[in-house]
Amino acid sequence: MDVAFLTIAELGRLYRRRELSPVEVTRALLARIAAHDGKLHSFLRVTEEIALAEATEAEAELMAGNARGPMHGIPYALKDIIETAGIPTTGHSKLRQDYVPKADAELVTRLKAGGGIMLGKLATWEFALGGPSFDLPWPPARNPWNPDTLPGGSSSGAGAAVAAGFVPGAVGTDTGGSIRGPAAVCGLAGLKPTYGRVSRRGVFPNTFSMDHCGPLARSTEDIALFMQVIAGFDAQDPGSEDVAVPDYRAELKGGVRGLRLGLVEDWHQGAGAHPDLAAAIEAAVAVLRESGAIVEPVRLSSLREYTDCKTTISSVELYAIHEHDLKTRPQDFGRILRNRVLPGALIGGEDYLAALRWRTELAQEQTRALRRVDAFITAAALTIADPADPDLPDRLVSAPSITMPFSVGGLPALAIPCGFSKKEGLPLSLQIAAAPFAEGLVLRIAHAYQEATDWHRRHPSLA
């Protein structure tokens, strides 16, 4: 059996029927990584010994009937800003290439307790912001759909590794779209949960007030299973919220009949969008309508406004994090990260407060709109995967982002595949967002869509 593209849900079912074992799966995936990651660079470090030890333990427990939950015996990998005790956590940066944490991040502790099998640490844009960079100690990850293109960022290795069939799921982080962007251009599901839903303790910060951790996987059902293990209150993360975690898998059921979905048309129909995107979103809307949803247009502030607000806040918080290194060893940053963090030194306190006040206003407009509709739908990326070109201009500020609005609002937002571009054959993606802590509703809408379509079942060939 080729295990490369089995989902987390399918692996769990096969384990329960004893038709497949965690050791067998782990060995197969390690072999696949060894054979193919040389051209994709999705892993910075493969933790083979740890993986086989965890797989052996999971196998023994599962054979004895002691199941720990939906991630038991499931291989996964971590973006390399997520700390792992005794294993280097580099941030894909020269600045931390020898850093070995003493403790696991809280979400790693939860995955270990849930019986997951860690296969390794994944490429990222430098400290989850600076990229794609070609001047770092490791090359940037490539997109398995076409290795001449990039897998988005900043959870670049997570997108590439899951799409390539190296792991069925991975943990990324998302400040302005760093889970949803890679999920979108790699043809995956990727969830930015509500701010405060998943602990960031032990995760290198990007922007304290907008950092989120969340999963990338091949299906919405897998996202639900992954979230069941990593979501929950952490008293030692100041941003964590003590809100009960529902049974996400149970919440997948119910369909979309009668739900009111607000289509934010202006965002994906503007300049800079791929020519095939509007038709793909229109087709996705048709599927949701056929499934019983009521879809109506919604207007929110422009992507330009959301991007300005988010990036101003981020720039200041980033500078606070990196100030010491910028003053003492600026040459050790990659060019893109350095030039994205330095502006924070020149942005005044009054600018930062103006952006924070604006954030409140922008978040409130989303809340008001969510009194009329149950969820928002829009695209998850305006373009397809970028070419792997070191000379591409930096578009962080110049090109408005379609993921940042829900970063500003702190809402749960999910990317799922909704088609492919005609000329390039690269993934296009739908984004669904809802009220704070309504991850279950977001997943339910996406699951209904995926039950009616098969975009998420398509995989790249690595031959």
Binding site: D242, D308, T312, A345, L356, W358, T360, V397
Partner: protein, 79 residues
């Protein structure tokens, strides 16, 4: 949609390269000429961005002035 009755600073002229150099030095940063030139090329997009920020909002529109002591007693120290 957010309010149209806002003010911003988009009427201000862009900083000159020399002004950018002065601001960088004032911030305590010591960049080589190569890194300074890279930053001088990067800064205008950011300067335009912060000048587009709407200003003059009511002081009650925060989180900027909020502080939640009860939240601190609920959480331990951030490692």
């Amino acid at each position: 949609m957010t309010s149209d009755k806002r003010t911003d600073l988009t009427h201000l002229p862009p900083s000159t390269p020399e002004e950018i150099r002065r601001m960088v030095r004032r911030a305590g940063l010591d960049l080589s000429e190569e890194l300074m030139c890279q930053f001088i090329a990067a800064w205008p997009n950011y300067e335009a961005m912060i000048r587009r920020l709407p200003r003059g909002r009511p002081y009650a529109d925060e989180p900027a002035h909020s502080f939640r002591p009860a939240r601190l007693s609920k959480s331990g120290p951030y490692r």
